[in-house]
C-alpha cells in the first residue's frame, strides 16, 4: 500500500528500475527536459524495443498532463508494473509517460503546498521589471496556500448563509451586498498594490497542445508546443505511427463521460456556401450549398493536369476551419463503451455516485489526441469526490398563510418535528422551539393568527443558496473521511498591508488527490478497464478471398479485409483528418500482372466488426500462387497465400 505519491525523481528512478529489471522488455526514452531541469521520460514496454519500425501497434499513455494529479502518475507506475509482472501477453507496445509536467508535480512535495499547474518556465505575469517576484505566501504557516477573505466595502463575496465555511458571490438582484474580497493567501511582495500576481512558474503543459490552443493567456504558453515537454511529446508521438490509441491519466474521464460537444463552428462539409468571389471564380451558384465532393468535381477541371484536389486543399482555400466537436459516429461508440464501463464499475462495487470528472480543457493532450491524431482517445481520472449525501431536511409542509387559518389544536397536532421545521423555515429566533411554542399556544398566551402576524413582520430569511455541489462534496468528504483535514477553517490573521484578514478554504489538491493509502484500491478497480478497451481497438485481417477464372490466364480476384474488433479503423475523426497511417494490401507474385487495381491498395477505413472488399483483375503467366499481404502501422499485419 502506498504511503505517499511519487516525486518526479522517484518516478524516473521507479521506471529506471523497471527498465533495468526487464531488459529486453522495457526501456526509457527521454523526450525532453522541462524548464525546471526535470527529464520528461517515456517507458517503452514491449517485445520490439530495438526495432525502429515496429510491427505491433502501440498504446501511448500520458499521465499527469498538468502535473497536479499525483494519483495519475501513481497509476502509470501501477500500469507499467502490471504490464511487466504476470505473463500478460504484450500484443501491443506500450509507451507510458509518468508525468508530462514534472515541474508542477514537484510542487506537490514542497513544504508549502500550492496547487498550480505551471512549469518552471520564467514568465513575467504582471509585465513589470521583475519576473516571478510576487507569488503566494503561506502566512499562517499551515503548509497550504489557501484563500484570504478581507472585509472590503467593494467586496463582491459574502459568506454563504447555507454553509458558513463557504463563500459565494453576493446576488445584487436579490438585495444582497458584498462584504468580502477574496485573495490567494499571500503578501504584496513587490509593493505594486497587487497580491500574488506574478507567481513562480509559467506554462501549464496541459493546455499547450495545438487543438483549440488559446494564445495570449497567462499560463497557456506563447504558442502550441512552446514548452519543451509538449513539443517533445508531439514529436515522439508523430515519430511513432504505430500508436493506435492514447490513454490520458488526469482529470477527465472519456471512458465514462465522452468528450464534450456543443462548440460553435465545426465546418459542415455537406453544406458549404461559397463566398461570392470564389463562386465566381469557379463558375458556381453562390446561393447554393455544396458538398465537398461537388466542389472538388467543380474545381478539378480547372487545376493544372496532374494535380489532384483533396478536401484539405479545398477546405483550406475556402477557409473552412477545423472540427471542434466530436463527430457523431465517434460519439456513438464512446457512449456505448461508457455504458459498459459504468456496468463494469457497478459490478465491481465501485461507488460511482461521484462528482463529474472535469471537462477537457482547450489545448489539452486528450483533445489533441482525438482531433489531431484521430485516434481512439480515452482518459481516466481515477478519483473525484463522492457526492455529498442529501440530508433530507424535514419540511413542515405549511405556510404562514395556512397557519393563520389553523386552530391551536390543529397546529399542535403537526407534532414537534414539523413545528420546529416550520419555525426554522421562517427564520424564527433561535429561542423559539416547538416545545415552547406549544406551551404558549396551550396556555393561550398566543394563538395561530397572532403567531402568523408576528412571523410575517419578521425579516425574511436569508435564503440558503444552492451550495455548489462540488464544495458540498468537499466539506462532506473532509468532515467524514479526512477528519476535517480537507478544509482549512477560517482563522483571523493580521496581514501586513490588508489589516485583519481571515485565512481558510479547501486544502490544495483535495479535489483530485485522495490520501496515498487509498490509491491502490482506486486504481485496482479502474485500471483493468484499460485492457478491456485495448481489446476493442481495431485489428485488420485478410479474412477471405475468391478467385474466378475469366479464361486464359485472366482472373477476377476478390479479397475481403475484416476488422475483427469493435472500434472502427480509423475513428470518424481519423477519417476526416486523414492522419492515421493507412493499411495497405499488397499483391505479390512472380509473373503477376494487375490489369485492374493496384499492387499496393490503400485501405483507408474499415468499420468495427465489418469488411471491405477489394477487387482485382489479374493475369498470371507463371505459377499459381499469389501472396496477399496486409501491412499497417497500427492495426496489425496479415498475409494469405492465394491459390488460383
Amino acid at each position: 500500500m502506498a504511503q505517499s505519491y511519487y516525486t518526479p525523481k522517484q518516478l524516473v528512478s521507479e521506471f529506471e528500475t523497471l527498465a533495468r529489471g526487464n531488459a529486453g522488455k522495457a526501456k526509457i526514452h527521454q523526450i525532453a527536459v522541462s524548464p525546471g531541469g526535470n527529464p520528461v521520460i517515456v517507458l517503452e514496454i514491449g517485445t520490439e524495443l530495438n526495432r525502429s519500425e515496429k510491427l505491433k501497434p502501440a498504446i501511448f499513455v500520458a499521465a499527469n498532463p498538468e502535473g497536479i494529479n499525483p494519483l495519475s502518475s501513481y497509476a502509470s507506475v501501477s500500469l507499467a508494473k502490471q504490464l511487466l509482472s504476470n505473463d500478460r501477453s504484450l500484443d501491443y507496445t506500450w509507451y507510458i509517460m509518468p508525468v508530462l509536467n514534472p515541474d508542477a508535480l514537484a510542487r506537490y512535495f514542497h513544504e508549502v503546498k500550492w496547487e498550480n499547474p505551471r512549469n518552471d518556465m520564467k514568465v513575467n505575469d504582471d509585465m513589470d521589471d521583475a519576473v516571478d517576484e510576487d507569488g503566494p505566501n503561506d502566512l499562517n504557516r499551515d503548509g497550504f496556500i489557501t484563500d484570504m477573505r478581507v472585509r472590503d466595502p467593494q467586496g463582491v463575496w459574502i459568506i454563504d448563509p447555507g454553509e458558513p465555511r463557504l463563500m459565494r458571490r453576493a446576488d445584487r438582484t436579490k438585495g444582497e451586498r458584498g462584504v468580502y474580497t477574496l485573495y490567494l493567501e499571500g503578501t504584496d511582495d513587490d509593493g505594486d498594490g497587487e497580491y500574488n500576481e506574478d507567481p513562480p512558474g509559467g506554462v501549464n503543459t496541459g493546455v499547450n497542445f495545438p487543438h483549440l490552443f488559446k494564445p495570449f493567456t497567462p499560463t497557456g504558453g506563447m504558442w502550441p508546443g512552446s514548452t519543451p515537454e509538449v513539443y517533445g511529446t508531439m514529436r515522439f508521438i508523430f515519430d511513432r505511427p504505430e500508436i493506435a490509441a492514447t490513454f490520458t491519466f488526469g482529470t477527465t474521464n472519456f471512458a465514462l463521460v465522452p468528450p464534450e460537444g456543443g462548440r460553435r463552428g465545426t465546418a459542415d462539409l455537406d453544406n458549404i456556401t461559397l463566398p461570392d468571389n470564389v463562386a465566381e471564380m469557379f463558375g458556381a451558384d453562390k446561393s447554393k450549398k455544396y458538398t465537398m465532393d461537388e466542389i472538388i468535381e467543380l474545381v478539378q477541371p480547372m487545376v493544372p493536369p496532374g494535380v489532384e484536389l483533396t478536401p484539405a486543399m479545398v477546405a483550406s482555400f475556402l477557409g473552412l476551419g477545423g472540427v471542434v466537436n466530436p463527430l457523431p459516429e465517434d460519439l456513438a461508440w464512446y457512449k456505448e463503451l461508457s455504458e459498459q464501463y459504468l456496468e463494469y464499475l457497478k459490478d465491481a462495487n465501485f461507488n460511482t455516485d461521484r462528482l463529474e470528472p472535469e471537462k477537457a480543457k482547450d489545448g489539452s493532450f486528450e483533445l489533441w489526441s482525438y482531433y489531431h491524431l484521430g485516434l481512439p482517445t480515452f482518459s481516466f481520472n481515477f478519483f473525484t469526490l463522492p457526492k455529498a449525501k442529501d440530508e433530507k431536511a424535514e419540511s413542515s409542509g405549511i405556510t404562514i398563510d395556512q397557519l393563520e387559518n389553523m386552530t391551536s389544536e390543529e397546529f399542535i397536532g403537526l407534532g414537534e418535528d414539523k413545528i420546529n421545521a416550520f419555525l426554522k423555515e421562517n427564520n424564527a429566533p433561535e429561542q423559539f422551539k416547538a416545545q415552547q411554542v406549544i406551551g404558549m399556544l396551550r396556555s393561550g398566551q398566543t394563538n395561530p393568527r397572532q403567531m402568523a402576524g408576528m412571523m410575517k413582520s419578521m425579516p425574511k430569511p436569508a435564503k440558503p443558496s444552492e451550495v455548489d455541489p462540488k464544495m458540498k462534496a468537499l466539506l462532506a468528504y473532509s468532515d467524514n473521511v479526512l477528519g476535517g483535514k480537507g478544509f482549512v477553517n477560517w482563522q483571523t490573521y493580521q496581514h501586513p498591508t490588508l489589516g485583519q484578514v481571515e485565512i481558510g478554504g479547501p486544502v490544495p489538491y483535495v479535489f483530485t488527490t485522495p490520501p496515498a493509502e487509498a490509491a491502490d484500491s482506486l486504481i485496482n478497480v479502474q485500471l483493468p478497464w484499460i485492457f478491456k478497451l485495448v481489446e476493442k481497438l481495431p485489428a485488420l485481417v485478410i479474412s477471405e478471398y475468391k478467385v474466378k477464372s475469366l479464361g486464359a490466364d485472366v482472373y477476377q480476384l476478390e479479397i475481403w479485409v475484416e476488422n475483427t474488433n469493435y472500434l472502427p479503423f480509423p475513428t470518424a475523426m481519423g477519417k476526416r483528418n486523414n492522419q492515421p497511417a493507412p493499411a495497405v494490401l499488397l499483391l505479390e507474385s512472380d509473373g503477376l500482372e494487375i490489369l485492374q487495381g493496384l499492387s499496393r491498395t490503400p485501405i483507408r477505413s474499415v468499420d468495427g466488426l465489418s469488411f471491405v472488399k477489394l477487387s482485382f483483375v489479374i493475369r498470371m503467366t507463371k505459377g499459381k500462387t499469389i501472396q496477399a499481404r496486409l501491412e499497417s502501422k497500427s492495426v496489425g499485419h496479415d498475409s494469405k497465400e492465394i491459390r488460383l
Binding site: 513589470d128 474545381v299 477545423g322 476526416r576 499496393r600 490503400p602
Partner: protein
C-alpha cells in the same frame, strides 16, 4: 602507395570544392543566382570584408543537415545590438523562390558597402541591428538549383509525407528525364487530345473546341510512374509548407494542406524561431517570397481578430511607401485580398514577437515585355495560373529577344518508358516566378530600399527634461518627455494589449519619489498618478509622438532618469534638482 594517392586525391577534391566556394568574394555579383553553398560563402565573405560590424551566425540545421546562416549587422561602437531596434529580413522560405535570397544578400551588401559613405545608410546602420537570413529553406534551394526541378517544385521542407496514402513516403516525385536540370512539361501527339498547336505560336497550344480535331494530350510534369500506381508524380517531396508550420494560429493538415504534423515540426524553422526569440528587439520583419508583386500584411485568416487599427495605421505607412518604391507591387491584406493561411511566418512574428511584419512577393511576369509601351498588367490570383496565350506570346518574344531563348525549352522528342514517343518542353525552372538575372539587381535594390525605409522608421527615442520646479524645501516637480522621432511606436499596440512583454520602463533614482505619473493632458495639467512604486513608470511611445511624466521628488543634487525598452533601446538623462 596507390592507396595514399587515392586518399590524397580525395583530400584534394574536397579542398578544391572548398576553394571553389571561396570564389564568392566581395563585391558580390547580382547578375546571377547563387547556389546554396555560394550564399553561405557570400555571408562569410561579407563577414570577412566587414568584420567590425558583422557577425555570421549559424542559426541551425535542416532536416537534411544543411546549415541556416544569418548575417548580423550591428556597429558595436554605437551600442549593443539588443539595445537597438532590430530589423529582420529573410528569403527563400519556399525552396523554389530563390531570388528572395539575392534580395537579402543585396540588402546586406548595400548597407555594408555604403556605411560611412552615404549618410542615410550610415545612420541606419549605426542606429539599427539587422538580422538577415538569406535562406530559410536551404534544402529546398539546394534541390531546386542542383537537382531537376520545375519552377514550382522543391518548395517544401524535407519532411517526407505519404501524399498518396499508400504507405510509402515521397516515392513518386517528378523525374528529370532528359537530365537538363528542369522538370518541364510532357505532351504526346494524340489526335483525340484536348489541345492543338496554337496557329499564332507553334510553341504554345490551345484547347480544342467541341467537335474540333485534337493534336496533343498534356501528360503533366516530366516524370515516370515510379510506384506503378497509375499516377504520375503524385507523391513528391513533402509536402510540408515551411510557411504554414509556425506556431501562430496553426491548423492541422486536414484544415490546410501542408501545415505539417504540429507547429515547428520543421527543425530549421524551430531554430529560426528560437533565434528570433533570443533577439526580442526585432520590430520589423520582411520575409521575401515570389511571386506576384505584393507587399502583404496579416492577418492570414479571418478567424483571427483583425489587427488593431493603430497598428494598421503603421502598416499602412510602411506598406504604402513600399508599393511606390517597387512599381507595380500592391500592398494587400493576406486573407482578405489573397486567401486564408494558418501558421504562416509573418502572422507568427506579428502575433508572438510584436514585430511589424511584411511578406514581399517578388516579381511579376508582366515585367517580361516586348513592347514599345510601358504596360500595366493586373496580375490576379487564379487556380489556373497565367495561361493566357496572348501574354504567353509576348513572353516568348521576351524570351527570344531579351533572354535569347534561355527561358523556354523548345519541345523536344523523348522516348518515355511508359508512354513511348513524347515531347518535353516548356518554361524552365528559372523562369516565370523570377526575373532573368539582368533584371535582378533593380528588383533587389528596390525591395531592399523598402526594408531600409522601414528601418529608418523604427523608433528613435529621446529623453528630454521639460522643466524642474521647486515646490518647497527639498520637494521638486520634475516633468520629463519621452519622444519618438519616427513612425513606428516603441512597441506595437498588439504587443501592449496582449502583454507579449513588458512595456517600456522609465525609472527615476537618486531621490525619493513622492508621486509620479503620466501627464494625460499637458495643457490642462492633468496627471494620472501611479500610487505604488511611482519611481517606476510603464509606457509606450507612439510613432512620432510623446509620452510625458511628472515626478514629485524629494532630494537634492542630481537624479538619474533611465528609459529602457525591449525594442527601442535605452536612454538616460541626468537632472539637477535646483
Amino acid at each position: 602507395m596507390k592507396q595514399m594517392k587515392k586518399i590524397f586525391a580525395a583530400i584534394l577534391a574536397i579542398w578544391l570544392a572548398g576553394s571553389a566556394m571561396g570564389q564568392i568574394s566581395v563585391p558580390l555579383r547580382f547578375d546571377k543566382y547563387h547556389t546554396y553553398s555560394e550564399v553561405n560563402e557570400a555571408i562569410k565573405a561579407l563577414n570577412r570584408a566587414y568584420p567590425n560590424i558583422t557577425k555570421a551566425i549559424l542559426v541551425g540545421k535542416t532536416e537534411e543537415n544543411r546549415e541556416i546562416w544569418a548575417l548580423e549587422i550591428n556597429n558595436p561602437q554605437t551600442g549593443n545590438a539588443l539595445e537597438k531596434p532590430g530589423v529582420y529580413a529573410d528569403g527563400n522560405i519556399h525552396g523554389n523562390e530563390i531570388q528572395s535570397s539575392e534580395v537579402v544578400l543585396y540588402l546586406a551588401e548595400y548597407l555594408l558597402k555604403n556605411y560611412g559613405k552615404i549618410p542615410d545608410i550610415t545612420k541606419t546602420v549605426d542606429r539599427n541591428a539587422f538580422y538577415l537570413i538569406p535562406i530559410v529553406n536551404p534544402d529546398g534551394r539546394y534541390h531546386f538549383m542542383e537537382g531537376g526541378s520545375s519552377m514550382n517544385n522543391n518548395r517544401s521542407l524535407r519532411i517526407p509525407r505519404d501524399d498518396d496514402k499508400d504507405g510509402l513516403f515521397d516515392e513518386d516525385g517528378p523525374n528529370d528525364l532528359d537530365g537538363d536540370g528542369n522538370i518541364s512539361q510532357m505532351r504526346i501527339r494524340d489526335p483525340h487530345g484536348m489541345y492543338r498547336t496554337d496557329p499564332n505560336e507553334p510553341r504554345l497550344m490551345i484547347r480544342v473546341k467541341e467537335g474540333e480535331q485534337g493534336e496533343w494530350t498534356l501528360l503533366g510534369n516530366e516524370g515516370i510512374d515510379v510506384d506503378k500506381d497509375g499516377r504520375l508524380n503524385e507523391d513528391g517531396e513533402g509536402y510540408v509548407d515551411p510557411n504554414r508550420n509556425w506556431g501562430s494560429n496553426w491548423q492541422p493538415d486536414y484544415v490546410q494542406s501542408g501545415s505539417g504534423s504540429f507547429p515547428f515540426e520543421g527543425v530549421g524553422l524551430k531554430a529560426i524561431a528560437e533565434y528570433m526569440h533570443a533577439r526580442p528587439n526585432i520590430i520589423v520583419v520582411y520575409a521575401f517570397h515570389n511571386y506576384g508583386g505584393m507587399f502583404l500584411r496579416g492577418p492570414g485568416s479571418k478567424f483571427q481578430a483583425p489587427y488593431s487599427p493603430m497598428d494598421v495605421a503603421i502598416y499602412d505607412i510602411l506598406g504604402k511607401h513600399a508599393e511606390k518604391m517597387v512599381p507595380g507591387y500592391r500592398y494587400l491584406i493576406s486573407w482578405q485580398d489573397l486567401y486564408t493561411t494558418y501558421g504562416d511566418f509573418t502572422d507568427f512574428t506579428h502575433n508572438t514577437f510584436g514585430a511589424y511584419s511584411f511578406v514581399g512577393e517578388l516579381y511579376m511576369t508582366s515585367q517580361e515585355t516586348y513592347s514599345k509601351e510601358v504596360q500595366q498588367v493586373e496580375e490576379g490570383f487564379s487556380w489556373q495560373g497565367p495561361a493566357n496565350n496572348e501574354r504567353e506570346i509576348e513572353r516568348l518574344k521576351f524570351n527570344d529577344k531579351l533572354a535569347h531563348g534561355t527561358l523556354f525549352k523548345d519541345w523536344t522528342p523523348f522516348n518515355h518508358p511508359d508512354y513511348g514517343e513524347i515531347e518535353i518542353g516548356g518554361w524552365i525552372k528559372y523562369s516565370t516566378r523570377m526575373p532573368h538575372p539582368f533584371m535582378l539587381q533593380e528588383m533587389a535594390h528596390r525591395n531592399a530600399a523598402a526594408v531600409i525605409y522601414a528601418a529608418t522608421q523604427t523608433p528613435e527615442i529621446e529623453l528630454e527634461l521639460v522643466r524642474v520646479r521647486r515646490l518647497e524645501g527639498r520637494l521638486y516637480e520634475v516633468d520629463v518627455r519621452v519622444k519618438n522621432n519616427n513612425a513606428i511606436p516603441s512597441m506595437s499596440y498588439h504587443a501592449a494589449r496582449q502583454k507579449l512583454y513588458p512595456r517600456d520602463i522609465l525609472k527615476i533614482s537618486g531621490a525619493k519619489v513622492v508621486a509620479g505619473g503620466e501627464i494625460t493632458d499637458r495643457f490642462n495639467n492633468k496627471v494620472n498618478y501611479k500610487i505604488h512604486r511611482p519611481d517606476v513608470q510603464f509606457l509606450q511611445v507612439p510613432g512620432n509622438g510623446i509620452a510625458e511624466f511628472r515626478f514629485l521628488v524629494e532630494g537634492s543634487g542630481n537624479i538619474d532618469l533611465t528609459y529602457e525598452s525591449v525594442k527601442a533601446g535605452k536612454k538616460s538623462l541626468k537632472v539637477s534638482l535646483r
